[in-house]
């Protein structure tokens, strides 16, 4: 190993596009950190960005990233904190250009280097890949992608840490990527800092687990934490998690002193099991991490030590996420009040369904929930005599169809129930429901050799 022996700190700044805007600034000003890591890309985000880019070739990235960087850049440059973010979406070059312009406007010309990581976007290559026999079969249904080829809106391979490490090695202050795994955003700066080899499986697995712990932001530091939730202090000022990694592959999960929230073994465990499949084989483009090898220990107040992590060699495939147009849906809601709120809502549901049926509307699915009674726990929520005493129940009916017409018609059948259905009804202030286009996802695998990550540097 050729890298540093000193510990390195990676701070989580955004767990998703839409996360708390204050968090990144607080992470870089609240105490020493070396890297700020921000995750912007949910699956659905990529298809929205492809649409934006089709309308305007200078768009197609997480636009919030640019004003955020305007606020952060002076501090980042002064404190020598480097940024890793997948804010580039389907247009990392345009994102980088906007950040460069912002940096120059702040008088930082010559003081900022950006690495742009691309190569994940397969949309323009799909026909060629299919023609050469890559079926891109759906991992769940085993159907070939040709089934929905005409409806495809976006197709991206998940890149790993390697191109990000390259960007950092070439002295980038900010690394802007398209689709990169959440975990790769944290693993990359740790690999770079310590000079870890790309086949040092145990250490790569350790950096991957570190990434999994902080990729959802405050969900590792007291946010959305079930255990002991009433005694988690000062969530208003919650400190986002920071990984302090050491060269031997062990690391601590911490937060800045004086911030709210909590970092505990129980809380970190909740985050470790989040979105988990087979814990012995957590597969990423970088390695396979074994979550059954993880050791956790409370090493102090708001400090959890993580050690013992084992890894295995990466596979020769990459995951691909294809977004395709599926159909339409709409959700209508009304609120019914005591007495017998639930009974009234149930009658309204029967009336509505009969009218939809009488109109001859064909839906792929009609789904009813009684919010306040059964929406989240279904039949497991056994109310007993309480059912008649509920102060209010929200009737929530949702429909889905491949065609738009029946969904449009459905949206006009909610309001009439206020005057021509069961009594004690309110809560229609939001107006008629809006039909929504459904973009669905098609998970597939592709040979790693088909995907060539590209790293380019742009100086402000």
């Amino acid at each position: 190993m050729s890298g540093s022996r000193a510990a390195v700190r990676i701070a989580a700044g955004q767990g998703f596009w839409g996360d708390w805007l204050e968090a990144p600034y607080r992470q870089v000003t609240g105490g020493p950190v070396d890297f700020l890591m921000m995750d912007y890309l949910a699956e659905v985000t990529m298809s929205i960005m492809q649409k934006q880019k089709a309308r305007d070739p200078s768009l197609g990235y997480a636009t919030d990233f640019v004003p955020l960087m305007k606020r952060l850049l002076p501090v980042l440059v002064e404190r020598k904190v480097r940024v890793i973010a997948n804010a580039g979406g389907v247009n990392p070059h345009a994102c980088a250009a906007a950040v460069v312009e912002t940096a120059r406007g702040l008088g930082l010309a010559g003081k900022l280097r950006i690495a742009v990581v691309t190569g994940d976007d397969l949309l323009g290559r799909l026909n060629g890949l299919l023609a050469r026999g890559h079926a891109l079969k759906n991992l769940d249904t085993n159907r070939p992608l040709s089934d929905v080829r005409d409806q495809v809106l976006a197709a991206n391979a998940y890149l790993g840490a390697a191109p990000l490490v390259e960007g950092l090695a070439r002295n980038a202050d900010v690394v802007i990527t398209g689709r990169v795994t959440d975990t790769g955003l944290t693993l990359a700066p740790i690999m770079h800092h310590f000079g870890w080899a790309d086949d040092d499986w145990d250490r790569l697995a350790a950096g991957t687990v570190a990434g999994h712990i902080i990729e959802c932001g405050a969900q590792a530091s007291g946010g959305n934490s079930l255990v002991d939730w009433e005694r988690i202090a000062d969530l208003a000022d919650v400190g986002y998690p920071i990984v302090e990694a050491r060269p031997d592959g062990t690391f601590d999960v911490i937060k800045h002193p004086g911030t709210g929230g909590r970092i505990s073994v129980a809380g970190v465990t909740e985050q470790l099991v989040y979105e988990m499949g087979d814990p012995a084989a957590y597969i990423t483009p970088d390695c396979i991490a074994d979550f059954t090898s993880i050791r956790l220990a409370q090493a102090g107040k708001d400090k959890v030590r993580v050690s013992g992590i084992r890894g295995k060699p990466r596979t020769d495939k990459l995951k691909v996420s294809v977004a395709y147009f599926y159909g339409y849906k709409a959700v209508g809601t009304l609120v019914y009040a005591w007495p017998d709120a639930l009974k009234k809502a149930k009658l309204a549901d029967r009336v509505l369904r009969q009218r939809l049926d009488d109109l001859g509307l064909k839906f792929e699915a009609i789904h009813t929930e009684f919010v306040g009674a059964d929406a989240t726990h279904g039949p497991l929520a056994d109310l007993g005599p309480l059912a008649a005493e509920l102060p209010e129940v929200q009737l929530r009916v949702a429909v889905r169809a491949r065609a738009q017409a029946p969904v449009d018609r459905f949206t006009r059948e909610i309001a009439p129930l206020i005057l021509n259905g069961p009594p004690s009804v309110t809560g229609f202030a939001g107006g008629r429901p809006k039909p929504e286009e459904i973009v669905a996802f098609w998970p597939a695998l592709i040979d790693r050799s088909e995907v060539r990550p590209v790293v380019e540097l742009v100086d402000a």
Partner: protein, 113 residues
């Protein structure tokens, strides 16, 4: 004082464990974590994949898989076909299974005393 023979008593999982859940497509996962390490073996014995499948009967369309994480005193359950198509297709309020974890914590299991 005469010691009574141990007899089974029922407890809600909520008293013994905490949990977090999420989604992978149309599959929900629930991580169930023992509040105290010494209760983990009890969870392993009682909260089997078959028991969880019975608990969620009528709510999920596919089978239930279970994985053990003794190092974290945790069990991970995969509930296949739990999310009405999942993600963006699902019509459910909880389309991503974020609070299915709490529905599991309603389960009552037998504990000896």
């Amino acid at each position: 004082m005469k010691r009574r023979p141990a007899r089974p008593r029922k407890m809600r999982l909520l008293a013994l464990a905490h949990a977090r859940s999420g989604d992978k497509g149309n599959t929900a996962n629930i991580g169930l974590i023992a509040r105290r390490a010494k209760d983990y073996p009890l969870l392993v014995r009682r909260v089997t994949a078959a028991r969880v499948a019975r608990h969620f009967r009528g709510m999920i369309a596919g089978p239930v898989e279970r994985f053990e994480l003794p190092n974290l005193h945790a069990l991970n359950f995969l509930l296949h076909g739990a999310l009405d198509g999942g993600g963006t297709i699902s019509l459910k309020t909880d389309a991503q299974g974020k609070v299915l974890s709490t529905a599991l914590l309603r389960m009552e299991i037998e504990v000896s005393r």
